[in-house]
Amino acid sequence: MSPVLDIKNLSKNFGSIEILKNINISIDEGDFLVLVGPSGCGKSTLLNCIAGLEPISDGGIAISGQDMTHVSPKDRNIAMVFQSYALYPTMTVAKNITFGMKVRGVEKEVQAQKLQEVSRQLQIEPLLNRRPGQLSGGQRQRVAMGRALVRDPKLFLFDEPLSNLDAKLRVEMRTEIKKLHQSLGASMVYVTHDQIEAMTLATKIVVMKSGVIQQIGTPAEIYNRPANLFVADFMGSPAMNLVPASTSKTSSGFDIIIRRVGEDPLVLSDTKARDLPSEVMLGLRPEDITDGQFRNGSAKPMAPCKVSVVEPAGADTFVVLSLGGKEVTARLQAETSAEAGKSMEFCFDLNKASYFDRDTGHRLSV
């Protein structure tokens, strides 16, 4: 079966500025693809290109095997939810939802029936006669989703749909979108700058920067095996610790040596590493640096480090230490005994460590 969305060698220029460079993405039926990246990385432009709202300069887009490169948005069998919801302000909720069907000349009875289905599904039945101005942010969001759902499209497009909501509502709607995706089994493309949204929703993540795809993969792949320093730093909160280190080969693997100011260098041994250059960038997730007291398993390297800041966050306590001239965050249990200014034993789990080339920033395969 052909992929639901197939983007081949897509490029997009505004004048002489390249916005998107050689994009290749393909997703299957039921995939939830999240485009994530910092502001201005071209993710929204890419979504608009998929929707047909922006012409592309080069390459092609196919939806369900049909070439859609030069097809107008209404014939692409897509539905889109916008950041500002873009509800028609002078129409009631019901008219907002049925507007697309009305334009396409769908019969009145079918319209009414679909409206009823969708409004029941989204629990917006009591709102049908109101205008968008009389709705709260979350309700508007639902109506915008309703407008997309009645279309029953091959592909749903979401352009940062949650960024206008407050923190609590955002988490609720996020869960709701995920439920919707599971119950519909529909294919979705979702743009966000929020890496947590990306991790929680996606079955497949595309990390972008300056119009170039940095990495495509499942959330776990992106999180555990980032392809370069940018992805490592961008995905995850707190960010992955990136520390310059030198290496030396030993009989059982590699010693990773991290210089410290005013203290002996920290030497960690990684038995998994096969081949490393003498200078690397070591990437360690905060949860891979843990409290030495609560160590489980034996073979993990331990080392004393001086704690500079302790940040309790309820479930976890984040501890900042200084390694290799950089601040490094460790995620400890809430009941840790860490105290600012004091030294304590930390356990470094190099099992999931990533190594990057210091010059190119690319991941070194271990």
């Binding site: 608009n48 929707a51 209404k74 916008f82 028609y88 697309g100 396409r104 101005g133 407008r147």
Partner: protein, 256 residues
């Protein structure tokens, strides 16, 4: 003006200018409406009043509609050179009336519209488009572009989006434009006197003729009444439309 228009000529001559009339008479109003002489015709303002209505109403409607469509295009359907065209239209707002008189006269002659009411309508529409486009463009730029995108995905075309989404949103700016255009067109004298002939003159020209072409006694009461009649429709537009203007503003504020 009102007091003078309600006095008899006798009283005007003997009384002071600001005194209230001792005997109220609507004689002067009657004369002004249907009996005052402009040159040799003594039909009062009546026929010219209808000329002005026939002229102002279509001209206002046409220039507002065209302005709305232009503003919609310039604000939401940016094409190559859109800004240049908009700047040129803005520039058009600053061209003094007198400059276009001769070219416009030639143009109307070529179009076969010289001296007719449709000709005058054409002149006012052309002259008004600059302003109306400016009004609507500035109103429509504040409407998020995502609205147009959403409608496009929904399958609506250029005119569908305009009729179903933009026009219903435009009440406040339509009222502003109508007030502006109606005042301009109704009060215009220069185009009216230049591009009309006997029988198609608008009310401002007729008023001038009544006031300036009296023979014998100057009938101040008739002049005053005529002036008020000529000014009445613009006043009315302000009062009636002004109310909608406020409503339009409050409606907009709930929109969110």
């Amino acid at each position: 003006m009102v007091t003078t228009s309600l006095k008899s000529l006798e009283e005007i001559r003997t009384g002071s200018l600001v005194a209230l009339p001792r005997v109220i008479t609507f004689e002067a109003w009657k004369t002004a409406w249907s009996g005052a002489c402009t040159g040799i015709q003594c039909e009062g303002l009546q026929p010219y009043f209808w000329n002005s209505v026939l002229l102002a109403v279509p001209a206002v409607i046409l220039s507002t509609l065209i302005g709305a469509l232009n503003g919609y295009v310039v604000a939401q359907w940016q094409f190559r050179g859109a800004n240049l065209i908009f700047s040129l239209m803005l520039f058009g707002c600053f061209i003094p009336f007198q400059v276009v008189l001769l070219p416009m006269a030639r143009m109307l002659g070529l179009m076969g519209l010289a001296g007719s009411i449709p000709g005058l309508i054409f002149v006012h529409v052309v002259y008004g488009i600059g302003f109306t486009t400016l009004f609507f463009r500035n109103y429509y730029v504040s409407i998020p572009a995502e609205l147009v995108k959403a409608a496009k995905v929904d399958g609506a075309g250029f005119y569908r989006i305009f009729w179903s989404i933009f026009l219903p949103l435009s009440l406040p700016i339509i009222v502003v434009t109508v007030i502006w255009q109606f005042t301009q067109i109704w009060n215009d004298f220069l185009f009216g006197v230049s591009f009309s002939q006997a029988g198609t003159q608008p009310i401002t020209v007729a008023l001038n003729n009544i006031v300036n072409s009296t023979t014998g006694v100057k009938e101040y009461n008739v002049d005053m009444a005529a002036a008020i009649i000529a000014a009445l429709p613009t006043l009315l537009v302000y009062v009636v439309a002004g109310k909608y203007f406020i409503r339009g503003l409050t409606a907009g504020s709930v929109k969110g």
